[in-house]
């Protein structure tokens, strides 16, 4: 390819082909940008407008730039915000602890069964999210497979003991539902690692653990970051697990937004909560990205 360099000191008229050339990237991005605009940017701006409005469903809302909704949202729900952050962080940690060995095994030891193993990871997702969460009510039931074993066979827990309706059940449900979102990015990152790098490190007197810690893990960091984001961010906004598997003390911020919107019809506070959640997650994500080191994230 030869570069076209204009003669020094003189700007030639811009050829119409050059306009096409300049605009082609934008045209290719257009469908994605339009989708983002219609389904994200415009609703976000509407949400911002509603959060600054006052009124009610019967009398209509008018933009008064009142910050009452934000004051209420920040003061009234510290417990639920705390729950969301805690449960999402726990779920992300557990999905990582469970998912990394699975991804590692599939990537390095999978051999010709790689595709089958990956299919088994995604297979539960062919069932609806709600059905899978409801099935956890059966699994964690007081006389379900887990507790009846612990109660009647091994006798380690008393008869009245119950997991459903506790934070444990909510975190378990979150972990289960987001596990593939952690396993697949980790698998992709681990798969790209050249095994010769590990051989090279072992030639340089690294132990197995040393090779893992200094070669495999740093190279897998982009996958760790992607998996954590795909797990943490949706988990923060989740409300299904807290509704079905929890109790009034384990409610998350998603439940609050849902009840403000559906039951109380308090749209300004619901919109303010959504905005605060969005900004909060953004701050956490940027901090996390800085902590991991952004150069390493682009692989």
């Amino acid at each position: 390819m030869t570069a076209v360099a204009p003669a020094a000191g003189r700007r030639p008229p811009i050829h119409w082909r050059r306009w096409i050339g300049v605009s082609i990237p934008y045209l290719l991005l257009a469908p994605g940008l339009i989708w983002l605009f219609v389904f994200f940017i415009y609703p976000s701006i509407e949400m911002l407008r509603i959060s600054l409005s006052s009124g009610s469903l019967d009398t209509g809302y008018s933009l008064t730039f009142s910050t009452d909704a934000y004051v209420t949202a920040l003061q009234k729900f510290p417990h639920q915000f705390g729950n969301s952050i805690l449960y999402s962080a726990l779920a992300t940690t557990f999905t990582f602890l469970i998912g990394f060995p699975v991804a590692y095994t599939v990537a390095f030891k999978g051999g010709r069964y790689k595709n089958l193993l990956l299919f088994l990871v995604i297979a539960p997702f062919f069932t609806s999210f709600l059905i899978r969460t409801i099935s956890w009510k059966v699994l964690l039931g007081d006389e379900g497979p887990l507790l009846s074993f612990l109660k009647h066979v091994v006798h380690v827990v008393p008869d009245g003991f119950s997991i459903l309706g506790s934070p444990v059940a909510v975190v378990a449900g979150l972990t289960y539902n987001f596990l593939p979102f952690m396993i697949l990015p980790l698998y992709v990152a681990l798969e790209k690692i050249d095994p010769r790098l590990i051989e090279a490190s072992q030639d340089l007197y690294a132990t197995n653990w040393g090779a893992f810690r200094r070669v495999t893990l740093p190279l897998a960091l982009p996958g760790v970051f992607a998996g954590s984001m795909l797990t943490f961010i949706p988990a923060m906004g989740d409300y299904v697990n807290a509704t079905l598997l929890g109790n009034p003390q384990t409610q998350m911020i998603g439940n609050v937004i849902q009840s403000r919107f559906l039951v109380l019809n308090d749209y300004p506070v619901a919109a303010a909560l959504s905005f605060i959640l969005m900004v909060g997650i953004l701050v956490l994500v940027v901090t996390y990205a800085r902590a991991l080191g952004t150069e390493q994230l682009t692989g």
Partner: protein
């Protein structure tokens, strides 16, 4: 050629240009949204909140006074398919669908016979789990004046009252529903929110009371509950109340000996119920909808506030329904035709069909709720001549006079009382 293509695309998007373009577009939209909201115009926004809020201003200005204007008569042409949304376990089923407790096409004799009689298809979906969440699915369309996609829906009386107040229902042509006019039971006539049945006909009526699992209680050596107050003495993490705030707070009022009807209930009374229930929540009480059926099945719940028909038709022999001594709440779920329904005449024919006493008996015999149709009791007796309904379950279908005397109804509350009810309930449920 490839050289030229390469040159055409060798200009990369600079970050500055991209951010400038996006910022310009965002500011334009913000200004448009602000001015659009201030002038209260209808814009069908892509988010439910956006369209609901923007157009609720328009709807509010168009809220009508309840004066019935003469509507043009519906053309008597049967069109289909009839789109019908209902609650789960609310219509008679046979075969595999009955075993699964879930409707499948062709499994309901009522619907199959209707389809044969009028040569039209019926799309019945068990789409409604809760009044508020179903309302949220049809609200965006109704607010902007678009059809909802449903011809017939079934909503509890207070939600039906709200829909009538918002003028989001089609008026029923009484000439097309002679069975309904003739056979509606008297106790269900004259609701203040629609006294002449212009917009609704009851589908089933039911009661909220106490359900319990006798085996779990026996194993824990606890007495069987007969009063609402007994539920306060059981371990709270084994008890559930209902997400339907009217039912939970209604029974709570009866427990405290306070009146539970729309004219006498005050915000202070509701506050007293809130303070009474709050200690139970701290000890593990939960709020559920129809999920109590699964909780009973998994032995997670030992006793709960339940709706009368559910345990009778879906529960195991261990599970029993009892009418509390202090009284019970009565409610009705009502058939409504949302505005813009494409098959209004067919919907009216269906309403007429299910008010035929033989069909109504068929349905009541399966769902075990109280039928709104006169003359059902005798036919149900005939249907079950070989295996009569057990005496324990008979009052669920045909409540006796002493039970009816203790029934209370939270029909339409004033909006202040309703607001305090909802905010007290959300405070208890933690969300």
């Amino acid at each position: 050629m490839s050289d030229r293509v390469a040159r055409m695309t060798d200009v990369l998007i600079s970050r500055r240009h991209f951010i400038q373009g996006t910022a310009a577009a965002g500011v334009t939209v913000f200004l448009a949204a602000c001015s659009g909201g201030a002038s209260a115009t209808n814009t069908p926004g892509p988010s439910a909140a956006a369209s609901a809020a923007a157009a609720s201003a328009a709807a509010a200005s168009a809220v009508p006074s309840p004066s019935p204007s003469p509507e043009p008569a519906t053309p008597k042409v049967v069109t289909g398919p009839l789109k019908w949304a209902n609650w789960p376990a609310y219509i008679d089923l046979t075969g595999q669908a009955a075993a699964n407790q879930k409707y499948a096409a062709g499994s309901s004799p009522t619907i199959v016979d209707f389809e044969k009689q009028y040569n039209v298809q019926v799309d019945y979906e068990e789409k409604i789990e809760e009044n508020n969440s179903f309302f949220a699915t049809i609200q965006p369309q109704l607010v902007t004046g678009l059809p909802t996609g449903w011809d017939l829906i079934v909503m509890t009386d207070w939600m039906a009252g709200r829909l009538i107040g918002l003028n989001w229902l089609e008026k029923i042509d009484q000439g097309n529903v002679p069975n309904c006019v003739a056979n509606l039971r008297d106790p269900l006539k004259g609701y203040p929110w629609d006294p002449n049945n212009d917009y609704h006909y009851p589908w089933q009526s039911g009661m909220t009371g106490i359900g319990y699992d006798s085996t779990s209680l026996k194993n824990a050596k606890l007495p069987v509950p007969t009063k609402i107050a007994d539920l306060w003495t059981l371990p709270s993490d084994k008890v559930t109340f209902l997400t339907e705030a009217r039912d939970t707070f209604g029974l709570g009022l009866l427990k405290l000996g306070l009146p539970a009807d729309s004219t006498q209930t005050t915000a202070d009374n509701l506050q007293a119920v809130h303070d009474d229930i709050a200690p139970l929540v701290a000890k593990g009480l939960r709020f559920v909808g129809n999920e109590y059926l699964q909780d009973f099945a998994s032995k997670k719940t030992w006793a709960a506030f339940v709706w009368s028909g559910d345990l009778a038709n879906s529960g195991s022999p261990d599970q029993h329904f009892v009418f509390p001594e202090e009284g019970n709440m009565v409610w009705s779920d009502n058939m409504l035709i949302p505005k813009g329904a494409t098959n209004k005449y067919t919907a009216e024919l269906m309403m007429n069909w299910v008010y035929d006493p033989k069909i109504a008996a068929q349905i009541a015999n399966y769902v075990y709720y109280v039928s709104p149709v006169k003359g059902v009791e005798a036919i149900v007796g005939q249907l079950n001549a070989s295996s009569p309904i057990p005496a324990e379950k008979l009052p669920l279908l045909f409540p006796t006079a002493d039970i009816v005397a203790k029934q209370h109804n939270f029909e339409s509350l004033s909006s202040d009382v309703e607001k305090s009810l909802n905010s007290l309930y959300t405070d208890l449920s933690g969300a």
